[in-house]
Amino acid sequence: MKRIQVKLSKDQIQKLSLSSIGFIVLVYVYFSFFLGPLNNSRDTMLAEIDQLQDKVANSKNELTKTSKLEQQANTSTKRFAALKALSPEGAPIAWFPPRMKTFFANQEIDKATARLENSVAYKETDLANWMRYNWILELPQADFSTLGKAVAALENAEPLMSIMRISIKALPEDPQFQQITLSASTAMVKR
């Protein structure tokens, strides 16, 4: 085998060293300042695309779910609207006592009065927009059967009202009639 001996001059060695250093610097600059950032930006964009595609796919599911929920909640929505409609605009103290007075007058019980005892917020998170109002309803004179019918009508007409206490006392001067006090609580929308 023929051996070729390459003899490099000092100048050539210097040039070669410089070229090698240049090559290393070039490779470093190429990877650090050109290819590296480019790859980073590519990876970031790919991740962002994946994220967006996931979001779009999820959004389709979300839209489908919402439309299904809308159909399922149809009954609840109507019922909720009906229950909400039982609380008209304005402060309950302004409209509830006249409403009760009219109601009992229609039931042939005159001089009914309603007093607000207190109002408290519900502890349930689902009823955050609702308040409980406690009322004292006083019916100074009514006979028992009229009272029974009126209470039945009240319980049907006011589904959100629950009578917590009932006190019926016979009038000493006219035992045919009774004096009635009802403690009732109603759920009303916060205004």
């Binding site: 050539q12 290819l35 609840s76 929505t77």
Partner: protein
């Protein structure tokens, strides 16, 4: 044999040395490598541009969908809130105690020879109902008339409610004589406490019929 003289051997050697110059070869290799790197960079840059186009398309798609999704999420939360609120309200409506049927039952229990002076009914925190009734009973045996009212009340309430207890709080004879239907009758004053539960008690589990097992001896 002819003599062959190479008079240019020095020049030829120089030329060969120039061709094998490592610096020159290195520069060529570097240039080739540089060219490959540039091409690779350009190829990558082209791909990145392509990805950027895809990204902008995805962003456009999302921008179109996002308002709808936000609206849908809001609506969904609203509907869920409506459903749960309606459930709670329905629970309250179903769980309340209806006094009218109770008053009707009570009116059925009061005979002509009894008079109720006062009725106090309260819905207790545990859902039980407590009733306090004060009244007068008249008859040859006024205590028996009061007892009859108590038993009738127990029977009537027992038909619709659970855990019914109807007990006398007080029962005392009065000196007063009352005239009912032309005949004088003695009177008694009574107080009745009644408690009952509107919620049906949980049925106690009863053991099912025993099935024959393999190990059991045949009869």
């Amino acid at each position: 044999m002819a003599l062959h003289l190479n008079l240019l051997h020095e020049e030829i050697l120089e030329q060969r040395q120039r061709q094998r110059d490592p610096l020159k070869i290195g520069m060529m290799v570097l240039s080739a490598l540089g060219a490959i790197m540039v091409v690779y960079y350009l190829w990558n840059a082209y791909k990145v541009l392509e990805i950027r186009t895809r990204l902008s398309q995805a962003q456009q798609n999302w921008a179109k969908v996002e308002p709808k999704v936000t609206g849908a999420q809001k609506r969904s939360a609203e509907l869920n809130s409506i459903i749960s609120t309606t459930k709670v309200l329905d629970g309250m409506i179903d769980g309340r105690f209806y006094w009218a049927p109770f008053l009707e039952k009570l009116s059925r229990c009061v005979a002509l020879n009894a008079q109720l002076i006062s009725i106090d009914g309260t819905v207790l925190d545990d859902g039980k109902i407590s009733i306090v009734i004060d009244g007068l009973a008249a008859g040859r045996e006024p205590r028996a008339a009061a007892e009859e009212l108590r038993q009738l009340l127990l029977e009537q309430l027992g038909q619709s409610y659970n855990d019914v207890k109807v007990e006398f709080k007080s029962l005392e004879d009065l000196d007063t004589i009352v005239n009912i239907g032309g005949s004088n009758m003695a009177m008694a004053r009574f107080g009745i406490n009644a408690t009952f539960n509107t919620v049906a008690a949980k049925p106690t589990p009863t053991p099912g019929p025993r099935t024959k097992t393999r190990g059991e001896p045949k009869q």
